[in-house]
């Protein structure tokens, strides 16, 4: 079995239903999407590229403020997770997915060990010194789109990142 390319239009009804579901079930809900999505071709071979990881699984460090998971408004903030993080200091603040796999092995949501192995094998050039933790439960994603997105982009640009790999919670 091969990978197949998905057509956005085929999922349109399902997406519209989901948007309606969120609007019905969450006070103050709103919707945003990338109107004209950017596309940046790889600027250099992966073997020379610096790679960062971004997760919305509520990953933060024990000495950082946990994400607010109880509020209806969600939490649009983000945390910087150093590449050399001690895994025992990682916490998960998220109430909308089962965190047990992530608690057992951080690599399930933030594959820092795997990235180090890819660097060792020469598949990618380097690991970014920083990765990004967010908490994805945001019924109104306006702040995510208008503030968090540009701030994360600036942080990764400052870290000379060429490639970023994202994963949801």
């Amino acid at each position: 079995m091969e990978s197949k390319v998905l057509d956005r239009e085929e999922f349109r009804d399902q997406y519209d239903k989901w948007v309606k579901f969120v609007a019905t079930n969450h006070h103050g809900a709103n919707n945003r999407f990338n109107v004209d999505p950017a596309f940046t071709p790889l600027q250099k071979p992966l073997a020379e590229a610096r790679v960062a990881l971004v997760t919305s699984a509520g990953v933060h460090l024990s000495d950082q403020e946990p994400f607010h998971t109880a509020t209806v408004a969600g939490d649009s903030s983000y945390r910087v997770i150093p590449n050399d993080v001690d895994f025992s200091t990682v916490r998960f603040a998220h109430t909308h997915y089962d965190t047990s796999s992530a608690e057992q092995d951080l690599n399930v949501v933030l594959p820092i060990t795997r990235l180090a192995e890819l660097v060792e094998r020469g598949r990618v050039g380097a690991a970014s010194p920083i990765h990004i933790g967010m908490m994805g439960f945001n019924p109104d994603p306006s702040a995510i789109a208008d503030t968090t997105g540009p701030a994360v982009a600036a942080a990764l640009t400052d870290a000379d990142v060429d490639v970023a790999i994202f994963a949801p919670g």
Binding site: N34, A38, T40, S56, H96, A153, F166
Partner: protein
């Protein structure tokens, strides 16, 4: 909503000149949010790179994302053929 939050930040990072790819477990949300590159997996929420302590599985998925980064020439979302707890047959 995780997928929408990821997709919106992914869009901003891509717009800043950084090439991006994401895992999607809810393809309709990722497609609707409109991102540069994503790979849909029929895995449960909370397991975007697979099962705990299965490095070969994590690497398989990461490699698929890297190949997508190397080959896509326009916004592309693909579906990967792996199935939860039956991934061994694809390695």
């Amino acid at each position: 909503m995780c997928h929408r939050s990821v997709g919106l930040v992914q869009g901003a990072v891509e717009a800043a000149g950084i090439s991006t790819a994401s895992v999607a477990l809810r393809p309709e949300i990722t497609l609707g949010t409109n991102v540069a590159r994503a790979a849909y997996l029929r895995f449960p929420l909370g397991n975007p790179f697979g099962e705990p302590d299965q490095p070969a599985q994590h690497h398989r998925i990461l490699e698929d994302l890297l190949v997508l980064l190397e080959t896509a020439t326009e916004p592309t979302v693909i579906e990967l053929p792996y199935r939860w707890r039956r991934w061994e047959k694809w390695l």
